[in-house]
């Protein structure tokens, strides 16, 4: 399976930014500082359970329900 990581990243950014592009950019930067470089993941990226688990934890920290 592929694409799950990209989907989770997009959901986290969208839910925190609520349509504000400046906040979206800041959330993207926050993810990089937390160790997730969103640009590295596409719809074709294989579903890596370790990265998915990390994103689930980050979403919880950021108050985002996936």
């Amino acid at each position: 399976m592929a694409g799950k990581i990209r989907q989770l990243v997009d959901v986290i950014i969208a839910k925190r930014a609520k349509g504000n592009p400046v906040v979206a950019q800041a959330v993207k930067a926050k993810l990089v500082l937390k160790g997730i470089r969103s640009d590295n993941y596409s719809e074709g990226t294989p579903d890596d359970p370790a990265v998915i688990k990390k994103l689930e934890i980050l979403a919880k920290e950021l108050g985002v329900t996936l």
Binding site: V22, G35, G63
Partner: protein, 369 residues
């Protein structure tokens, strides 16, 4: 906004200087940055009493900045009138290692402003953070702040004139070490953030494969002793590599913009940094460019975007100050801000989204167009 500074020798002299320059306005808040040469408890109390009724906060420095000048052994201050700030709340974090420190501070802000920090509009509120510059916890503070709110918190790590012994933050008449002060502000005027650093990417990367995050140490880059891999990347010998630390640090790239991580020293083949690097992180090797020119462009560009600038608070890395001093450019740097009410200080680290080095993080208030 109005700025003032004093190079007075005594605290009483400093206080009188500042009062004289900032008198006659309806104050909401005073932000001050002070050389560590003054007794912190006495200074905090004196400035707090001098501006009783206003929210008074600040920190010690490794050099001060005021409109047009870079100073040493001085105190600089910015007065915010009631026409500039609608409401402000200060919160001191005295136990920086308490994992709930930010939650507790934010609960105070939520009670005061009657709004959830997560729901606050980042276009209507802005935060300032002043943190102990020797605590090594700024990353954790900024990470937690970013988890809990979209409000921008910009700030700097307090200094002690390169003594590296004790730094202080001030709030409402008191001085605190091993602490941070957060200010949440609801301005009446528009505001913006400038994050500027003077580096270009050399197109080479290093991956941190073994780190000690707590000690801010990278033990290995790409499976080799960190200093060996770094020296290879910059084309230097291991022996000469530390001489390149200031001009060739590394950066965590977000799009094309680096969050600079500055090497401090070599330790048993590893490299200790001024901020932490997570294991697995890919860092770009950077090359320094012209601080004065880059800063001038950043200010002019923002002026074109937002119109008149009413005031700037400049959190300016001490390593940038040292580079400006080495190149004889402190006067030219100060002059960039000659026509803009500005205060700032030479920091032990800068905060904007995260914690970083060799950067100027500036809070910019709009002026009357």
């Amino acid at each position: 906004m109005k700025t003032a500074y004093s190079t007075g020798k005594t605290i009483r002299e400093v206080s009188r200087d500042l009062q004289g320059q900032l008198g006659g306005i309806h104050l909401r808040a005073i932000l001050f940055f002070a050389s560590s040469t003054f007794d912190p408890d006495a200074l905090g109390l004196e400035i707090g009493n001098a501006f009783d009724g206003a929210a008074v906060f600040g920190c010690t420095t490794a050099g001060e900045i005021v409109s047009g000048k870079m100073l040493k052994r001085s105190v600089v201050a910015m007065a915010f009138e009631t026409e500039v700030i609608d409401r402000i709340k200060l919160c001191v974090i005295e136990d920086l290692h308490n994992k709930y420190a930010i939650d507790n501070a934010f609960a105070t802000f939520e009670e005061y402003f009657g709004e959830s920090m997560l729901d606050m509009d980042p276009g209507k509120y802005v935060g300032i953070i002043l943190a102990d510059g020797l605590s090594k916890v700024e990353e954790k503070l900024m990470d937690k702040i970013g988890d809990l709110t979209n409000v921008w918190f910009v700030g700097g790590s307090a200094g002690d004139d390169l003594q590296f012994k004790t730094t202080y933050v001030f709030a409402d008449g008191n001085a605190y070490s091993n602490s941070a002060v957060l200010a949440l502000i609801k301005p009446k005027v528009g505001f913006d953030i400038i994050k500027t650093q003077s580096f270009s990417s050399l197109g080479k990367t290093l991956r941190a494969t073994k780190v000690d995050e707590f000690e801010r140490e990278v033990i290995e880059f790409d499976g080799k002793p960190a200093i060996v891999a770094y020296a290879d990347a910059i084309g230097s010998s291991v022996k000469d590599a530390p001489g390149h630390f200031m001009s060739q640090p590394v950066g965590l790239m977000v799009d094309d913009e680096p969050y600079v991580r500055s090497p401090q020293q070599v330790k048993d083949g590893g490299m200790v940094f001024y901020c932490n690097v997570k294991e697995g992180t890919e860092l770009s090797v950077l090359q320094s460019t012209d601080i004065v020119e880059d800063t001038r462009k950043a200010i002019e560009s923002r002026q074109r975007e937002i119109g008149s600038i009413g005031g700037i608070i400049n959190f300016h890395c001490i390593l940038r100050t040292l580079e400006l001093e080495n190149k004889g450019q402190t006067e030219a740097y100060g002059k960039i801000f000659a026509d803009i009410p500005t205060i700032g200080f030479s920091t032990y680290g800068e905060q904007c989204v995260g914690h970083m080095n060799q950067t100027s993080a500036m809070l910019v208030f709009k002026g009357a167009d």
